[in-house]
Symmetry: C2
């Protein structure tokens, strides 16, 4: 009874089930939902899959996702080209942009070093970062990978490669989040907050 | 910053986020996954959406989903055409088939009466069931809607419509599940199990 539903429906269920975090039951629910959509909406969804694949590529400078030749940040005349903020994922660029503080450029690694998940330095866009820095325009690289074991290891690995190039390499400051409550801060964060204490 | 990602990627994220049970964050994760798929796989997924929509329709007799003119069960010469098992959803047919006990035909309502969700009798395939029964071949209708408030209400509603037609109308037996432990049976199930007790 493996193929109890019509073949094309089974195929659609298989498609959804192959996506990360979607189990068999959810895949069934999603497939039935697709069948229940009004004329045109399922077609629009399928088209959005194809168009995203067709149009989105990585920016040759910062490796962020873009539809243009260069991404909007790399092609903007208003950004400081001497500072580069290194992040793991395209969504991290969004987080940093929200702070409205950073005016430099980005470099997206597309992952973090993780021996557990078999992600090594060669799987990330590190070569491309070194090439950029070798260009000579960059004075500072801010490592803004996640404050977890993998992000820390990635930041450490890259900073060792960059140090000999005689540029400033910094790491995002860690500490208790603004507006939060000390009571709920975890030990590791408090430790980092104490280490990172400043004169007042 | 609503459209921070490239337009076609935002569009794909919107598409996933419009599916039931998928939030904004999951939609982002799924969209990035689609972009990371090897050549051809994203296309295959998009095609599976289109093909399922194109090929799958409801069987004109039992209303189950099928790609053929009649569904395999309705077109089988080995099924007892005098007994019809009424279920809410196509997946329920699969559950009953797994028991290998039932040899009759099905009727899929595509839902259950639920005033809360604004699903009334006219939203279900009840008319089609009455037409089938009026055909005269059917002797018994087994109501196999879910053993919950909505399923019970639906079974009750339909049985009232069928009774005047002088056929047997039965409801699936309720009780403690085989292989389960009494300790974990809920009160409502135990009540139904006592009501449905049999001589031994």
């Amino acid at each position: 009874m493996a193929s109890f539903f019509p073949a094309s429906l089974e195929n659609l269920i298989d498609g959804f089930a192959s996506l990360p975090g979607i189990g068999r039951k959810s895949a069934q629910r999603l497939a039935f939902y697709i069948l229940s959509l009004p004329e045109g909406e399922a077609e629009a969804f399928a088209r959005s899959v194809l168009e995203a694949r067709e149009r989105v590529h990585t920016c040759p400078v910062c490796q962020n996702l873009t539809e243009d030749e260069l991404c909007p940040i790399c092609s903007s005349p208003n950004r400081d080209r001497s500072v580069v903020c290194v992040v793991s994922e395209p969504r991290d660029v969004l987080s940093i942009e929200r702070s409205r503080e950073f005016k430099g450029l980005y470099h997206v690694l597309h992952g973090a070093i993780s021996p557990m998940n078999r992600v090594g330095p060669d799987d990330l866009r590190i070569k491309e970062l070194l090439t950029r820095v070798a260009g000579g325009e960059i004075r500072e690289v801010i490592m803004a990978t996640n404050p977890d074991a993998e992000g820390d290891a990635t930041a450490m690995y890259i900073s060792r490669l960059l140090k000999p190039l005689e540029i400033r390499v910094t790491r995002l400051g860690f500490g208790v989040p603004v507006g939060s409550n000390l009571e709920y801060a975890d030990d590791a964060t408090l430790l980092r907050a104490l280490e990172g204490r400043r004169e007042m």
